[in-house]
């Protein structure tokens, strides 16, 4: 366990301590700025509705996945590109343990950054509407969504150097267009799974979310279970790939 913690600690240090983190923090604060401008000119009811149909998808569908993409793909991808992976791979540690440590680190780093943006957005919402009880649901949904995206992008980052381009294409086409247009596949949309966790906790204003969820049933435990299964699958696949593929290019 000490080894897993050591990998996770150094990975978080490497991911969060870089200049790109500043850009991701700023990205995470964009919804808060937009909500502030909107809240100053509209009624509480209109702000609440805008938060659910405008801000929630902006956070869960844009800033969270982009943060998870950049950091998730970098957690193992950077080690491979910079060839530092030999330093951890040539140690008596199971490949799955390395993959799990990397996933945990990428999730924590992404959640620290995206969660900060979500927290500030939640505070702005509370400040403009006087309703503070949305914040826990919003943060839990952010955490669940982050884990789902990091699980996917870590594998992509290990496989290819073009993970960011592929990931952006996936976000735009699959998450942005296909799963919104076809309700049969909407349950595979990771940000909608995150939104369903929010809807499972924050039952007030559920009608506002029906279109967004596009057929995904509200429920925090169901959403959590889905992303945990995805994370375990990601660890297993990454572990297999680490054994089966060349670790340095």
């Amino acid at each position: 366990m000490t080894r897993v913690f050591a990998i996770a600690r150094v990975t978080v240090y490497g991911l969060v301590g870089r200049r790109r983190s500043l850009g991701l923090v700023l990205l995470g604060l964009v919804p808060a700025v937009i909500l502030t401008i909107f809240g100053l000119s509209e009624t509480d009811r209109e702000t609440e509705e805008f938060f659910r149909v405008g801000i929630l998808p902006m956070v869960l569908g844009v800033s969270v996945p982009i943060t998870a993409l950049i950091l998730g793909a970098a957690s193992l991808g950077d080690e491979r590109q910079q060839k530092t992976i030999s330093y951890i791979a040539m140690r008596p540690i199971r490949r799955e343990a390395i993959a799990a440590a990397k996933l945990a680190a990428a999730w924590l780093s992404s959640f620290l950054i995206a969660g900060f943006g979500a927290l500030v957005t939640g505070v702005v919402f509370g400040w403009t509407t006087g309703s503070w009880d949305e914040i826990p649901a919003f943060l839990i949904a952010t955490g669940i969504t982050t884990l789902g995206f990091v699980a996917v992008f870590q594998v992509v980052g290990f496989i290819t150097d073009r993970a960011v381009i592929i990931g952006l294409g996936y976000l735009l086409v699959w998450e942005g267009i296909v799963t919104g247009a076809a309700s049969q596949v909407s349950t595979t949309s990771l940000w909608r799974i995150g939104a369903s966790a929010y809807a499972g906790i924050q039952t007030e204003g559920l009608a506002d979310l029906e279109d967004l969820l596009s057929g995904v049933n509200p429920g925090v435990w169901g959403a959590a279970a889905k992303v945990v299964v995805l994370a375990l699958t990601s660890v297993a696949v990454t572990g297999y790939l680490m054994r089966d593929r060349d670790l340095v290019r």
């Binding site: 000490t2 080894r3 050591a6 990998i7 150094v10 240090y13 490497g14 301590g17 870089r18 910079q82 060839k83 530092t84 992976i85 030999s86 330093y87 951890i88 791979a89 040539m90 140690r91 008596p92 540690i93 199971r94 490949r95 054994r243 089966d244 593929r245 060349d246 670790l247 340095v248």
Partner: protein
């Protein structure tokens, strides 16, 4: 098997008909050899397949064909073997954002060393990096990076150490210290495999050399045998003179000359001894009243020497 100089009697690392290719490019081709305690130099020009071989031995790259064992184990299948193995990669594979001490201590933690801080202090001391260990690696010179990588590989007290061009970037004093360190590790009964493209460098370290070219075994043996093989190679020399044919005809009468060729009024000769040719030419030119304008060895690159060892041409 042990009669061939490519094999040792008490191997810790064994390679059998090992090949690795990347698409159409063959990096290692049907290589069989073994390594045991002491320092074995892995010698070859750039692109010979040395790094690919070390990466396969380190379990970082999957062989395309063949087998290898490290301490009787396949490193791709049993990661526990890495308790006894260390690698100093050629690449600048260090965490820039860590200090030297953090980097080495991290390696100790990953290796499951009982007291990581103490092990790190010991390894850092062994490479003479005590003073700089508290600084971030991003500020290190190339030589310092090399030394901290060596410390990171030594921190788990490995039985087997792979060193890929370990003296790159090190200044002369650092080279001497690192070579002394490698000798002391070898004297303790460890297996060190040191890759380099510089024969003189390998000669200072290794008691045995495996020479590779184009992914294949070119020669194996002790350094004196390899050096003898090198000096037996015919050299090609370009000679510019005002009457090249006259000089060429005269040179053919001397045993030091293997062949003579005149192309575009430029004389090309092959000799097995550059020194003898150097002594013969001025005398002959004076006697024949031939004016020499340039004498230049051709094709003296390490690649050509290795290629001769493999292909005989």
């Amino acid at each position: 098997m042990t009669t061939s100089p490519a094999f040792v009697s008490n191997p810790t690392v064994e390679v059998t008909e090992l090949s690795k290719w990347f698409g159409q490019k063959v990096a290692v081709s049907n290589l069989s050899c073994s390594f045991g305690p002491g320092i074995t130099g892995l010698l070859g020009p750039n692109g010979a397949g040395k790094t690919t071989l070390l990466r396969m031995l380190a379990g970082l790259t999957q062989p395309s064909r063949g087998q290898l064992t490290v301490l009787d184990t396949d490193p791709r299948r049993d990661v526990m073997v890495f308790q006894k193995v260390g690698l100093v990669p050629e690449d600048d594979a260090v965490y820039e954002f860590l200090t030297g001490r953090q980097y080495v201590e991290y390696g100790a933690q990953l290796a499951g060393v009982r007291n990581p801080a103490q092990a790190a202090t010991h390894a850092i001391g062994a490479v003479g990096m005590d003073d700089a260990a508290g600084r971030r690696i991003e500020g290190y010179s190339k030589g310092m990076r090399q030394r901290i990588k060596v410390a990171g590989a030594l921190v788990n007290d490995p039985e087997i150490l792979y060193l890929d061009e370990p003296l790159n970037g090190a200044d002369p004093l650092q080279r001497v210290r690192l070579i002394e360190l490698f000798h002391s590790l070898a004297n303790e009964g460890r297996t060190l495999i040191v890759s380099s493209h510089v024969l003189a460098e390998v000669e200072k370290m290794a008691t045995r050399i495996i020479a590779m070219v184009d992914g294949r075994l070119a020669a194996a043996g002790d350094p004196s045998a390899i050096r003898a093989a090198f000096t037996d190679i015919p050299y090609r020399v370009r000679i510019d003179a005002d009457t090249p044919r006259k000089l060429g005809s005269a040179l053919l009468n001397h045993s030091v000359i293997r062949s003579v060729e005149v192309l575009d009024d430029i004389l090309h000769v092959q000799t097995r001894d550059l020194g003898d040719l150097g002594r013969l030419l001025p005398t002959l030119a004076r006697d024949l009243d031939v004016r020499l304008t340039m004498v230049q060895p051709e094709d003296l690159s390490l690649e050509s020497v290795f290629r001769y060892l493999v292909h005989g041409k």
